[in-house]
């Protein structure tokens, strides 16, 4: 029991990253109804960009993160414009296949460009653990939680008070009504996709200073993000925060008390179980067209 606070703290660190990835996914998936299987690779790409910025270009932490956000927003714009937009017009279900293709494509591009060896970003923060009561955390881990908290706060403010946020909420309530009342659905879609991509990349960048970045790392991440979104209910920001932190804590406890070998297998089994038992989400409503 002595280790419990430490496990909980580890869980909050991991959970913070899940929250960020899941927020990006819930915006894109829950509101725009675009199923992006490559969202995990967006996370990995963010990690590589952080490595690039901090190691190769020698940027300090903040400029490196800005680099990640800007690049990922641009990348998200390109993907939305040139892949999802042309497909979505004809047959939205084909987006599933195309984004699966994108996920495969990106994984193998990472493999070719960066190689199979895991990489780590340099945070530039002082080394060594910091003691908080009975809990020890490195400064990178504390920074992850702090950065996630700031990002989530900014996002909540943006969603509450800006036109993007208002339009988004209108869109998630009823797309047709939103369109009739003069909301530029195209513009909202693009901006949402860019925000979602940036969030995934930011999360990957933050985690890259603690956990290794590797080409295939996105698969597990996207699964967990989907789980969080499903548990939270599509498009629910607050739900994603709670569910993301919850999943992180549960995982940290499993790892702490049962060992880490089975963690990934158990993670995937949870994915299957959650979706099989409650495919429309734990808080979602089941709707059937009559």
């Amino acid at each position: 029991m002595a280790l419990l606070p430490q496990f909980l703290a580890n869980g909050v660190v991991i959970g913070s990253s899940y929250v960020l990835v899941a927020l990006g996914l819930t915006l894109i998936f829950g509101i725009l109804k675009i199923v992006n299987f490559a969202h995990g690779e967006f996370y990995v790409l963010g990690g590589y960009l952080a490595v690039l910025g901090s190691q190769l270009l020698g940027f300090p932490p903040l400029p490196a993160l800005v680099l990640v956000i800007v690049c990922m927003a641009a990348f998200g714009w390109g993907v939305e414009r040139f892949i999802f937009l042309p497909i979505g017009k004809h047959d939205p279900t084909n987006v599933i296949i195309a984004s699966f293709g994108l996920s495969i494509l990106l994984q193998n591009v990472f493999l070719k460009v960066a190689g199979p060896e895991p990489m780590i970003a340099k945070s530039g923060l002082p080394a060594g653990a910091i003691r908080l009561g009975s809990v020890f955390l490195t400064s990178e881990r504390i920074a992850i939680v702090a950065a996630a908290a700031v990002t989530v706060t900014v996002l909540l403010v943006v969603l509450r008070f800006t036109w993007v946020g208002l339009s988004l909420r209108a869109l998630s309530e009823n797309a047709t009504v939103a369109r009739i009342s003069g909301i530029n659905v195209r513009r909202v879609a693009v901006v949402t996709f860019m925000i979602g991509s940036s969030l995934a990349g930011l999360s990957g960048a933050l985690m890259s200073s603690v956990f290794m970045v590797q080409p295939g790392g996105g698969v597990l991440v996207v699964m967990k993000a989907f789980i969080v979104v499903v548990m939270a209910g599509m498009g629910s920001i607050e739900g994603a925060i709670v569910a993301g932190l919850g999943l992180g804590v549960v995982e940290a406890l499993v790892t702490g008390y049962l060992g880490s070998e089975m963690r990934d297998i158990i993670g995937f089994l949870i994915v299957i179980a959650v979706l099989a038992v409650r495919p429309q989400g734990l808080f979602g409503l089941k709707t059937e067209r009559s």
Partner: protein, 260 residues
């Protein structure tokens, strides 16, 4: 009244606590044409979905031909001879008009899957028989000229006729028509009225007609049941029911627009 084909007893359905249908008692007798009417959101579609097994009831019982089918899956109820059409027309979009009808027919009288896989003589003969039968029924609805077209290439009125042909081809015990006049031109509505009568008179099909358009209900129904807020408020001959103050209240009552 003759023995009921379908009968419900205190049938109830709630969605997330919202009661869409409340203790609904109802029956359709052999050879009757019964109308089910009510304002938007009164629970008509819920009744159809419960009777066909698309939804499972929260409480109450459903009997088809005296057999309890409460909670039975849709395909089992269909095999007991309950056919339906849909408010938003549903046809298999990658199949031709004829294949749509043949597929429904084969569920009732097709060869087994194994003998069909082995292309046995029996399977081929049954398929030919089903095709002939389908043509025959399509002809009745003057749709045989479109038999080779994709179902989705037809107009709404034509698609509606194909839906009717699909149901009639299987010689159902009960044929549930879910707002068949929706989206039809006046000419087509007349044709619909004629065809509903003919289905009963010439083929002995019992019909449950869920409808908005009063003209259709009044001209073909033997009996009309009225739903409002998930409750039955009237049950009787069409000309009596439309005079019923409760029905008038439901249709043109406070704050609600007349639908009929």
């Amino acid at each position: 009244m003759t023995a009921p084909i379908v009968e419900t007893e205190a049938l109830t359905k709630a969605f997330q606590g919202m009661v869409a249908l409340d203790a609904f008692d109802f029956s359709v007798g052999q050879g009757e044409i019964v109308g089910l009417i009510g304002p938007n959101g009164s629970g008509k579609s819920t009744v159809v979905n419960l009777l066909t097994g698309v939804l499972a009831p929260t409480a109450g019982r459903i009997r088809v031909d005296g057999r309890d089918v409460t909670g039975a899956p849709a395909h089992e109820i269909a095999r007991l001879g309950v056919a339906r059409t849909f408010q938003m027309i549903r046809l298999f979009s990658s199949l031709t008009v004829e294949e749509n009808v043949v597929l429904a027919l084969q569920q009732q009288s097709g060869a087994g899957y194994v003998s069909s896989f082995l292309q046995s003589r029996e399977a081929r003969e049954r398929r030919l028989a089903a095709r002939a039968e389908a043509r025959e029924t399509l002809k009745l609805f003057e749709m045989d000229i479109h038999a080779e077209k994709l179902a989705t290439d037809l107009s709404i009125g034509q698609q509606r006729m194909v839906e009717l042909a699909r149901g009639l081809a299987t010689r159902p015990r009960l044929f549930i028509l879910d707002e068949p006049a929706a989206g039809l031109s006046p000419v087509n509505v007349d044709r619909l009225i004629t065809m509903i009568r003919r289905m009963r008179d010439e083929f002995g099909v019992t019909v449950l007609l869920v409808e908005h358009v009063m003209r259709v209900v009044q001209s073909v129904c033997d009996r009309v049941v009225v739903l409002d807020y998930g409750e039955k408020i009237a049950d009787g001959a069409p000309n009596v029911v439309v005079e019923d103050p409760k029905v008038i209240e439901a249709y043109i009552g406070l704050g609600r627009a007349a639908d009929a």
